[in-house]
Amino acid sequence: MYSLILYLLAIVSAAVSFRADQEKTRQAFRVSVRSLVKVAPTMLGIVGVVGLLLALVPPHWISTYLGEKAGFVGTIAAAVIGAVTLIPGLVAFPLAGSIYAQGASTMTVAAFITTLTMVGFVTAPTEIEQLGKKMTIWRNSLSFVFALVIAVLMEVILP
């Protein structure tokens, strides 16, 4: 659905743009193809690693493991697991729900979701390609720290 909208948007804007200025449209097309070709090796690598990760560390292990681990240790573990894995959103929230159901604290669940979404260890190579090494390292490190802060505040606000 979302990708249908994206493709429609791309096609419609291409048509409108082509009528207004052929050269600009061609240029946009050329540049986007070049960028795609450039990120392709990294993206395909990421895809392969994500598959292996999810196969070697099945999601239900994560929920059992984090459900049992109590206290701050559990929260740190959750933050680390969230940072290094790339779990599609459709799997992530049911998983977070089951971690909660298996007895993990608010803090642990919040840390997991926040690092899972904000910190991208697996996608770092493409982030570096596009935004530079310094920005990537800092953005991810700060996200990790802020995820822990958010987690602690969540525990205070919603015990």
Binding site: T114, T117, G132, M135, W138
Partner: protein, 186 residues
């Protein structure tokens, strides 16, 4: 994963992670076909997701790059954009659906065209952790209160991170110079 067979030096080097992943899957297949099936299945679905999203995203970013003048980007999310720029960035982040990696090309283009670092970081943070569909899913599985508190805190974190990154970035020169974002012709 099909085009990993090339033995040309640089191509091989570029695709070495892909080659390693293929080999790892073969080894995995030998020891545990079930696990390998999960791995290949996930790889397939993530690959499909990327294929559905990245080509139009790169094209649309290329179009914005061609059509939106520097001054406009500067006005809305540039150095003089102030609080308005921050609000626009946060809303843009929450409103644009899709995985975080789909936000990198847009972020790179915005930086190149004079957007403020604090705003770009806030955009990426909001995009990552405060997207509207994410909030809906989260409310369903973890409760609306949980989702709302987490999202509010995420916005505060996004602003704080943006501020910190902007102070840090004063010392860099690399930020967007080595990006793959669209560059104007010659």
């Amino acid at each position: 994963m099909k085009d990993s067979r090339s033995h040309k030096g640089s191509t091989f080097k570029q695709y070495r992670v892909v080659v390693l992943a293929v080999l790892a899957n073969l080894v995995l297949w030998y020891f545990s076909p079930d696990r390998a099936r999960i791995s290949i299945g996930t790889t397939g679905s993530v690959f499909r997701e990327m294929l559905m999203i990245l080509p139009p995203v790169f094209f649309l970013v290329g179009m914005l790059d061609q059509w939106v003048p520097r001054e406009v980007i500067g006005k809305y999310v540039g150095h003089e954009s102030g609080i308005k720029g921050m609000v626009i960035s946060l809303l843009l982040g929450s409103a644009t659906v899709g995985p975080l990696y789909a936000g990198f090309p847009l972020a790179a283009m915005l930086l190149k065209k004079g957007a403020r670092m604090s705003n770009v970081v806030a955009f990426l943070t909001a995009k990552a952790a405060a997207e509207v569909p994410l909030i809906v899913m989260e409310s369903k599985f973890l409760g609306a209160r949980f989702a709302l508190v987490r999202v509010s805190l995420t916005f505060v974190a996004a602003i704080a991170m943006g501020w910190i990154m902007e102070q840090l970035s004063r010392g860099w020169s690399e930020t967007s110079s080595d990006s793959t974002s669209p560059k104007p012709a010659k």
